[in-house]
């Protein structure tokens, strides 16, 4: 299980480092370094097993039914990346301590860096492809945050946005690809996918899945033609560029290619797509790098070119090419990260990165210059350095491929040309910056960097040298393990040697070095030629495209969303009409085969009153008071209907809610305009009548079809178990507080939230206080009628008694928390009406928010309580006790739950009405006319 800890430690480290703002810079750095150091120790602890050929796995089941688990695995490839991510990450953190100025927030950078580290570790160690994708997206997001670290700079914001758009878009393609693969294989588990090569490649959708996955990989690794985001990402602080945009994140795309190599590679399409993309990127990157005057720009295009090289190697059909790819991943990370750090020092100590100004730095910073020159030589592929070895392997492999059929001889030639350009820009990096005359008006007086700022570079450059001189002692084992993980079989026999004798690859290297130096000497003409080309600004093209997409979408949205609620509602009703009506036309017979019940006179009268009420409401809807009376008739008839059709609990609830609703609406009348103007044109009335009647007919028909068909209900279970399992005879109440207690808990929570929302809406309400009614008659000055006041006061204890009775009997007879709560609330509302809220506040000063919270807490606590007896949430308990004087009594935990319901209902109802009533009571006395 210790595998979890590697990404988890880094995540914890991210949170911790975010809170180191109060500490000194050294302390902050030291604390941030703890987590990756521990993670690195853990990884080293696992290393022997991995080197022995084991794959370590650990899985935490999450949603096993959907095959979604949190799963990690560690094999050779993952281990290599874990070492790189943690090792270079620690160096970068150390370096950033000296790089950041006093004005920059160090905890912010560290927190983002560690978050990014977590995401990268997650990618390389995931054993579930959906989880892999999740971490993949997290790298895009954390990279966005890191590029925009200097958010006040426009180029940083734009660069961050571009990187997010490109890599995020690629991430979506990747998700689609991974889901396709998951669908083909029948599992999202990486182990299963990697061993299903035949199944995937023989599937009809293989090509689609491959292209989608490659899109994800290519956008992330800045492959041509998606490469343009990487140079713009250089707006990030240099430690970030060193870490994300050369050593790790852009390698995530390469990692993906390597990871899925056993499952997806081997087909013609793979070699063509991967190989040619890599080749194009290699050439384009190497060529453009030469012309960049910005040091970081040069390094960015060089990175693109080297990523292309690795991609090309993965697209070559030989096993040794894969070994070379893995080797170059390691080498590129070391020399490129050190070059970025050296660039950071130069920028830091001179104030510029422009190579036209930077000259002759050797005199000012000889130490840094030496380090940078060694690293740049490794980049160029000079012997005795690590870059030479992998480049030599690369040249050798280009000679053993058939990528282009009979034209395959082109590839070694093009590789040599790219090699020559790579020598040329490396030469420029060394010569232009450190020699080539005197510096030209630098913003700062240059000097050597602080001692420890150079320390991370020293380590990386030392690695370049050691690997370059003693490859077999240092990287042989790692390379074998990682390559066999990529190939899915034992690694081929290979020998890394500095001297292979005089052969073709050596000749190619020699040609590249000579050619490169020649290109560099002739650079003046090349620069002139480049300047004569029409300018290509990827940023402008990108921004114009984005702008067009956004404005196109905005135009579509504006066409649909014109701000008219009436229109949205109409459209929604039409959708309801079509989708609910359509199946009815496909049904052969509306009426079911149940025996119809005869209509008796009571029902007929009830239905008649209900219809009169409904139609009356519509007719008089502009006469507010009449409409209110009419709708209350409907509400009463509905509760009568519930009584009639064997639902006493519903009838009681409906009746009490009806009272509260009507009081609420009466209160609302005071705040809303007294007259509703006649607004709708006759055509609109006709149209709305048409829609309304059509929906009414459809819903009525569905209802008729439903209730004339026999019912096969699951309620038998509830009826059979209400007494034996829930301890109550009122099945409806037992369902509410026991069988479906979780639903009820959710519902009272919603009730509480609605009440709180209302409370919030009424705070600071600007008031319209009408001074007179619509006909100009002033309001009555009489405040509270004496008769009502005295009667209501004496009614209160009685009403409370009734509600207690209803509450207690609820488990066995109609009643329960909801109804009792409403009865209590009405009793109090009557006091409010009779006396006013100030009178109540003097006597009964409670905070309804606290009451609601108490209610929900009680219900929740009953649920949680069952955990203490090792039962699932909300398991109920009941038993019978002999209590003196009372007799044999049942006590059930459900009654505590119902008590919570009761309190919540009382609190919410009173809060809604009392806060509205209070608005008028506390309002300033001046009267405002509308």
């Amino acid at each position: 299980m210790t595998l979890f800890w590697i990404p988890l430690l880094s995540l914890i480290g991210s949170f911790i480092s975010a809170f180191t703002g109060k500490l000194s810079r050294n302390q902050s750095t030291a604390i941030t370094l703890v987590a990756p150091a521990l993670a690195l120790l853990l990884a080293i602890d696992h290393a022997p097993a991995v080197f022995a050929g084991e794959t370590i796995r650990s899985t935490f089941e999450w949603v096993p039914l959907l095959d979604i688990n949190i799963a990690f695995r560690l094999d050779g490839l993952a281990l290599l990346f874990v070492f790189m991510i943690l090792g270079i990450g620690m160096l970068v953190i150390f370096y950033a301590r000296y790089y950041l100025s006093a004005n920059d927030s160090m905890p912010k950078l560290y927190a983002y860096l560690m978050l990014f580290m977590t995401a990268m570790l997650g990618i390389v160690m995931s054993n579930n492809v959906l989880q892999l994708w999740l971490f993949w997206e997290l790298t895009s997001i954390s990279s966005f945050l890191l590029i925009s670290y200097w958010w006040h700079k426009s180029e940083a914001r734009k660069g961050a946005k571009m990187a997010l758009a490109i890599t995020g878009g690629g991430g979506l393609a990747l998700l689609a690809g991974l889901m396709l693969i998951g669908d083909i294989v029948g599992s999202y588990n990486l182990d299963v996918i990697l061993s299903s090569r035949e199944l995937i490649q023989s599937h009809a959708l293989y090509e689609v899945a491959l292209i989608l996955v490659l899109l994800g990989a290519f956008t992330k690794s800045a492959q041509f033609p998606f490469h343009f985001w990487l140079p713009h990402a250089m707006a990030a602080p240099t430690p970030v560029s060193a870490y994300l945009h050369s050593a790790t994140m852009v390698k995530a795309g390469i990692f993906l290619l390597a990871r899925f190599y056993p499952a997806l590679a081997g087909t013609e399409l793979w070699f063509i797509l991967v190989g040619l993309t890599g080749l194009a990127t290699l050439l384009v990157g190497a060529y453009i790098a030469l012309f960049k005057h910005d040091l970081k720009g040069l390094l960015a295009f060089s990175t693109i070119s080297h990523l292309g090289l690795i991609t090309l190697l993965l697209g070559l059909d030989t096993e040794l090419a894969t070994v070379a790819a893995v080797f170059h991943i390691i080498n590129h990370a070391t020399f490129k990260a050190s070059l970025f750090m050296a660039t950071g020092i130069i920028d830091h100590e001179t104030g510029t990165r422009d190579m036209r100004k930077l000259n002759g730095m050797w005199r000012f910073m000889p130490y840094t210059a030496t380090l940078a020159m060694v690293a740049a030589s490794a980049m160029a592929g000079v012997p005795l350095l690590n870059g030479f070895l992998s480049k030599e392997m690369f040249f050798a492999e280009t000679l053993h491929q058939q990528l282009l059929g009979s034209m395959s001889w082109l590839i070694p030639i093009l590789a040599t040309v790219a090699g020559a350009f790579s020598v040329a820009y490396s030469a420029r990096f060394i010569h232009d910056v450190f020699f080539n005359g005197e510096p030209i008006d630098l913003p700062k007086e240059p000097h050597e960097a602080p001692r420890y700022m150079r320390f991370p570079i020293e380590i990386l450059v030392a690695l370049c040298l050691i690997v370059g001189m003693f490859p077999n002692f240092v990287v042989d084992g790692m390379l074998k393990t990682a390559s066999s993980a990529v190939l899915g079989e034992a690694a081929p026999v290979f020998e890394i040697a500095i001297w292979h004798g005089f052969n073709l690859p050596l000749l190619m290297s020699g040609l590249a070095v000579c050619g490169g130096l020649f290109i560099y000497t002739q650079r003046k003409y090349l620069f002139q030629f480049q300047a004569s080309l029409p300018p290509m600004n990827a940023k402008k093209v990108f921004e114009r495209t984005m702008y067009n997409i956004v404005s196109w979408s905005r135009a579509r949205i504006n066409a649909i969303e014109n701000g008219s609620l009436q229109r949205y509602l109409m459209l929604m009703f039409i959708v309801v009409l079509v989708s609910a009506g359509w199946p009815l036309f496909e049904m052969s017979q509306l009426v079911g085969n149940m025996e119809p019940t005869p209509i008796d006179v009571h029902n007929a009268i009830g239905a008649g009153l209900l219809m009169i009420g409904a139609i009356g409401t519509v007719i008089w809807h502009r006469t507010r008071m009449v409409a209110l009376l009419m709708i209350s008739v409907v509400g009463l008839m509905v509760s009568v209907a519930f009584t009639r059709f064997s639902a006493p609990d519903l009838a009681l609830t409906q009746l009490t809610v009806e009272v509260v609703t009507i009081i609420l609406l009466m209160l609302a009348l005071f705040f809303l305009p007294q007259r509703t103007p006649k607004e709708s044109s006759s055509i609109r009335v006709l149209r709305d009548l048409g829609i309304a009647s059509a929906i009414g007919v459809i819903i009525g028909s569905i209802s008729y079809a439903l209730i004339t068909r026999p019912l096969d209900s699951i309620s038998e279970f509830f009826i059979a178990n209400a007494k034996v399992g829930g301890g109550g005879t009122n099945v409806v109440n037992v369902i509410l507080v026991d069988f479906r207690g979780f639903d009820t808990l959710g519902e009272i929570t919603v009730l509480g939230i609605a009440a709180l929302g209302i409370y919030k809406l009424l705070i600071n309400l600007p008031l319209f206080m009408p001074g007179s009614d619509s006909e100009g008659r002033p309001w009555a000055k009489e405040k509270y009628p004496l008769l009502l006041a005295s009667i209501s006061q004496s009614l209160l204890p009685l009403a409370l008694l009734v509600s207690v009775y209803i509450f207690l009997r609820g488990h066995n007879l109609p009643g329960g928390g909801f109804i009792a709560g409403l009865v209590t609330a009405i009793a109090f509302i009557l006091q409010y009406i009779a006396h006013g809220s100030n009178w109540i506040a003097e006597r009964f000063d409670v905070n309804y928010r606290k009451i609601i919270a108490t209610g929900i807490a009680i219900s929740l606590a009953t649920g949680v309580g069952s955990w203490f007896f090792d039962r699932p949430f909300l398991t109920s308990w009941f038993d019978y006790f002999d209590i003196p004087l009372v007799g044999k009594t049942e006590l059930a935990s459900a009654i505590a739950f119902d008590l919570g319901v009761y309190i919540t209902v009382v609190g919410a109802t009173l809060m809604i009405l009392a806060s509205l009533g209070k608005v008028t009571a506390n309002a300033p006395k001046e009267e405002v006319n509308i």
């Binding site: 709708i631 059709f645 609830t653 009826i719």
Partner: protein, 113 residues
């Protein structure tokens, strides 16, 4: 009786929808209330219509379906909370916007004022 019941549900839906499509907030609130009556009746009837068979054990031999009743009971209470919320929203909207039109602005009259 089923036909009568279904007709009532249909009529309530029709009246509710018509009121919801009105332009001022108060009729819309009435419409929502009406529609929630209809929805409650509709859901309740999915347990079929039964006379004198309340689901209280020991009072009859055959019981009405208690499940839709339990669902509708909470629906009534939540429906009240939602109605209340809409009412308060209407009041707030009226005082912030200065009118009670559902679109937030009173359309200008075409032709004669």
């Amino acid at each position: 009786m089923e036909l009568l019941y279904a007709s009532c549900v249909g009529l309530l839906v029709a009246c509710g929808v018509f009121l919801i499509l009105r332009a001022r907030t108060f009729p819309v609130v009435l419409g929502l209330t009406m529609l929630s009556y209809a929805v409650n009746l509709f859901l309740f009837a999915s347990g079929r219509l039964t006379l004198n068979k309340a689901a209280v054990l020991g009072y009859s031999s055959d019981y009405a379906d208690p499940l839709p009743q339990a669902l509708v009971l909470t629906a009534i209470v939540i429906g009240f909370a939602m109605t209340a919320f809409v009412v308060i929203l209407a009041i707030r909207g009226r005082s912030d916007l200065g009118n009670d039109h559902v679109n937030g602005i009173v359309p200008e009259k075409k032709g004669k004022a």
